[in-house]
């Protein structure tokens, strides 16, 4: 009986430790990930923004492309330029970390919802939108 109680306590303690770790991250793993990543010079994204000030026709916009740009390069605002916006939008995204990550994350969410047909029309909020927060 004593062994059973001790075993039960040990299992509970282990479970607690494992679950408590869900609110922390392995800093060493994150450091290793960044140290082993390939650096991309910011200036590579500062090439002339093609047609950034030219409003794209809605028929020229591919939702999948917009989603991929948002997902992969959304932190630099590339998807906003693809969908039509002011010439400086890339700077806002780049130097605010994609709007503290929230702007970028929500942009990607809205475009994804439009892509899968759940949020039809959400993409329209971004087309030729000069506002930083396109979805409001």
């Amino acid at each position: 009986m004593k062994k059973l109680v001790l075993s039960l306590i040990a299992v509970c303690a282990f479970a607690f430790a494992a679950n408590a770790a869900s609110f922390t991250v392995n800093d060493s793993a994150i450091d290793a990930l960044i140290e082993n990543s390939t650096e991309v010079f910011t200036a590579e994204f500062m090439t002339p923004a093609p047609a950034a000030s030219v409003a794209p026709a809605k028929g020229e916009i591919n939702t999948t492309t917009a989603f991929l740009l948002s997902w992969l390069l959304g932190g630099f605002g590339v998807h906003r330029h693809y969908l039509g916006t002011t010439p400086w939008m890339w700077a806002v995204y780049t130097f605010t970390g994609g709007g503290l990550g929230v702007l970028w994350g929500i942009d990607t969410l809205f475009i994804f919802l439009d892509l899968i047909g759940v949020g039809e029309g959400y993409l329209n909020k971004f087309i030729n939108c000069e506002k930083i927060i396109a979805w409001i």
Binding site: F23, T24, D27, L33, A43, G75, P87, F95, G101, I132
Partner: protein, 179 residues
């Protein structure tokens, strides 16, 4: 005011009202913009300096506390926005300091996780010197942003605080490669 030094030198100036400027000292060009989301009050350092650690500045964005509880020995608060299309935000606290923050889409998917750690006291302010943001895309891909604060000084004089954009700065031309 933030001075970016590498790989390019830029000044970023924002005030609490959302008036934002980007200045390139090499070309003497400036870009100005106004938007509440660019307010300095949304910066992590500003949030902790002003003591708004309870909601990490979410109240400023329109979020309201919806639920408070305990999970795995930690206090957990859930914040919701009146717009149901905006994500729900859960914040977990350890000794009243936020250590974990997650954004959950209306569909129930976690789209962003933020981990705050290495808290240190600087005068009256407690600041997490390390922040890790993980944004989740479709499939198994994610993006990781690591922010580390170092050499923190408070109540100090620094010429950088006196910086202002020169009056003769030209509007930034973003249709040409930066020098």
């Amino acid at each position: 005011m933030t001075l970016y030094k590498t790989p390019l030198k830029y000044y970023s100036i924002a005030n609490s009202k959302g008036e934002f400027q980007l200045y390139n000292p090499e070309s003497n060009e400036v870009m100005s913009q106004y938007d509440p989301s660019l307010s300095s009050t949304t910066e992590l350092v500003s949030i902790f300096m002003s003591g708004r650690v309870d909601d990490l500045g979410l109240g400023y964005l329109g979020y309201r506390l919806a639920e408070t509880g305990r999970e795995e020995g930690y206090v957990k608060k859930s914040f919701k926005h009146p717009d149901p299309m905006l994500p729900t935000v859960n914040i977990v606290y350890d000794n009243y300091l936020p250590i974990y923050c997650e954004y959950i889409s209306p569909e129930g998917k976690v789209v962003n996780r933020k981990y705050l750690s290495n808290y240190q006291q600087f005068g009256r302010m407690t600041l997490p010197l390390r922040s890790t943001d993980i944004s989740y895309g479709n499939g198994r891909d994610s993006t990781v942003v690591r922010t580390i604060y170092s050499s923190v000084r408070i109540d100090t004089e620094d010429p950088a605080f006196d910086f202002s954009v020169p009056a003769d700065a030209k509007p930034m031309k973003l249709d040409a490669p930066a020098k």
